[in-house]
């Protein structure tokens, strides 16, 4: 069980001046990881850690051999083109590397002169998927989302009987998870126009986003074993932002009886940066069930989980369009919500996923499912915001939307804030819809 340590000291500053500016979200208390290279270069992708508006090149740092012990071993794992080797080392190594990086990047650090040449401006970087994702699982942990979506399909009975007992999840597509994605509108079958007719076929007409967070598994479990609820934190490397793009019309026709498939697997856009669980430690929150809600089964319940199972992460969805970008308008904010409002929490997802002996592996990604909040303006998808396409959204520059149009760019941001502590940012997930091929 991690508790606060010197890396969480709110008074720490960095010799990288921009890290001390609230704007970047990457103060020395954060230290998120990505896999990057200089934009447009032929360099190999390698791990880096964000500090202010810079990236510290960890592969280059490893060559300096200035760290030893667990931190040195962890840094030596940061020379591949993915974070999987670091993820596989486990929590003690992650924590040792964080402490050592924190000390090296603090104001007054003796290493400053040696590290300065290893900084790359984020403005000059491009990113790749930070981990080789073996399996991607998507959950459905917002009661508000499940209820709102369920109402559209089953007005009298929106929530299925299993929802309040089972952290509902399903397997998604790992190959199409990426960063900074630009993808053609998916094509596929949709419902027949009239009963007895063949289905329709063509570009999706109801393309949507889903506001989610992603949980990167660090250390896994052997097949047949399970991860106990109170050990789950040891297995989580960190969190990213996730946009689970969804073709609602394809989904409506295909999803019975085995779940969504082509409606979801064409693209899923994550943020390049993974914020470690240790960086989020100051933002843990009590996990409570509202009065009248059932308590989870024993394998999903513990005193510790109730005391600190949730995380206070604030998220928002923004939209730009071809029109807005051409005119120079700022992105329109479509909604915001908080991860704290989810019905299930991260440790419960790992405990549930492995209760049957299913093996998780380093680099696996677990999506939370759409994180809609309790208020209508906290809905995490257009399906909810537009009431299934019936209530168009007015954009500030005069356009309307029910679902996404070609050229639309969806940006999701996330951050943690509390009084007296530097802002911990997640960067952003940004993806753009292109015309169907």
């Amino acid at each position: 069980m991690t508790t606060l340590n010197e890396t969480h000291d709110a008074n720490l500053t960095s010799w990288v001046a921009s890290a001390n500016d609230e704007g970047t979200g990457f103060p020395v208390q954060n230290l998120p990881y990505a896999v990057f290279r200089r934009r447009g270069s032929e360099e190999t992708f390698r791990p880096g850690v964000a500090i202010g508006d810079r990236i510290l090149d960890l592969a280059a740092l490893a060559e300096l051999r200035v760290f030893d012990g667990q931190a040195g071993a962890a840094l030596a794992a940061c020379t591949a083109d993915s974070l999987n080797p670091l993820m596989a080392l486990g929590r003690a190594h992650w924590s040792a590397l964080r402490l050592t990086l924190s000390r090296a990047l603090r104001s007054g650090a003796a290493l400053q002169a040696r590290l300065e040449p290893l900084l790359v401006a984020q403005a000059d970087a491009e990113y790749t998927t930070p981990a080789r994702i073996g399996d991607y699982t998507d959950f459905y942990i917002s009661l508000h989302h499940a209820t709102a979506v369920g109402k559209q399909f089953r007005p009298d009975n929106p929530l299925l009987p299993n929802y309040k007992w089972v952290p509902i999840g399903y397997h998604g597509r790992a190959s199409s998870v990426g960063v900074e994605q630009r993808f053609p509108r998916p094509v596929g079958q949709t419902r027949p126009a009239a009963e007895g007719e063949p289905p329709q076929f063509g570009p999706c007409q109801r393309l949507d986003y889903e506001l989610e967070l992603g949980v990167f598994v660090g250390t896994g479990n052997a097949q047949g074993d399970r991860i106990a609820l109170d050990q789950a934190d040891d297995h989580v490397f960190g969190l990213c932002i996730l946009n689970d793009w969804s073709a609602r019309d394809i989904q409506a026709w295909e999803y019975q009886p085995l779940g969504p498939f082509l409606a979801k697997n064409f693209a899923s856009t994550i943020s390049p940066w993974i914020v470690t669980l240790e960086a989020l430690e100051p933002f843990r929150a009590a996990w409570t069930r509202a009065a009248g809600e059932p308590q989870p089964l024993p394998y999903l319940a513990s005193e510790r989980n109730r005391a600190q199972g949730a995380y206070d992460v604030q998220m928002e969805v923004l939209l730009t369009t071809e029109v807005s970008r051409a005119a120079g308008h700022p992105p329109a904010r479509l909604s915001s919500s908080n991860f704290r409002d989810a019905y299930w929490n991260i440790a419960q997802l790992l405990a549930h996923h492995t209760v049957n002996g299913c093996n998780l592996q380093p680099g696996d990604l677990l999506g939370t499912g759409t994180l809609s909040g309790p208020q209508p303006e906290e809905a995490g998808s257009l399906l909810e915001l537009t009431q299934g396409g019936k209530a168009p959204i007015e954009l500030p520059w005069g356009e309307q939307r029910v679902f996404l149009q070609d050229g639309d760019q969806v940006i999701i941001r996330a951050e943690c804030r509390k009084a007296g502590y530097p802002r911990i940012g997640f960067g952003e997930s940004a993806g753009t819809v292109l015309a169907a091929r």
Copy 2:
């Protein structure tokens, strides 16, 4: 479009005498691939090709550098601990390697003396998963299975309206696919005993197998592109046997609305051997829809696909138990069926999977779904054979089964037979259920 070539000559024999014996199913016309090492050794796993009751060690063969051109390049890709590098090379390379191996293993081959030391007895070998499986997709292509299972859930309306138009599929768990698996009975939530009560929790009581074939993707497609129906064969490396173990009671409680999850992802057992699509060329069959059935949408239909889209692969399921093994009884045959009876075919699965731009990658595995045939005795699962657990099966040694008991071993075999041609075997998938942990 592959057609028959000299490797398919029925009269070819091998200098490996056991290959000329119908028993093994591995004549020189077959040449399936696996990844193996000597049992109990600390050797690295490496690719091998089956010939009779032997394995030709391809990593060792590569060191001899006796092949050149595309065959040499393909062989050079057979030195990793998975077949992914070979799979990624593409059909021309696979075909060149097959031709060269066929010539080297034929009776009278000049290379015989140099290859003999590279043979390992299959009896002395152990296997690992032949490919690093990036994504595993399971389909549902047997109309007979879908109807039989649907009847148990929806007696009046067994088949959903999308079934005859959409090759229904969903993403499964790649991490838990393996060979020769022995796994503990999964534990999980099942339906409440009475309405209003909490769900039950404990070891699965309705553990089942599913008789399937697996399709290994060779070359993939870029995200956003699609694989056209008539190009699909170029992307398929080969076929294996697949047992998609299923916890029916867990499935019944969890699967709405997003599909099966913990009911399936604890284990999926494939055969160690992958039979290449080229080896199956003589067993292609016309793919036809019965009178009155709708024709597929254009992206799933072509003259070529109708002419030869199906494969004539005969499969059977066998069971041993602790009792039967102790008494020395032969395995009991539970059912048999033929892949030819499926409602959709392999090329259609690839065309459908990618129609929305979803990217397939070398080593991806596509399961067919349970391949039940039209007759009751051709059912590919206990759920069907026992009518949902209501009609126990009598085993020849006096035991009964509705679902699987601890210690039960399920063996699935597959083969292709035709008059005047050597039997093409798939080996077997074998897995054993252990007690719950």
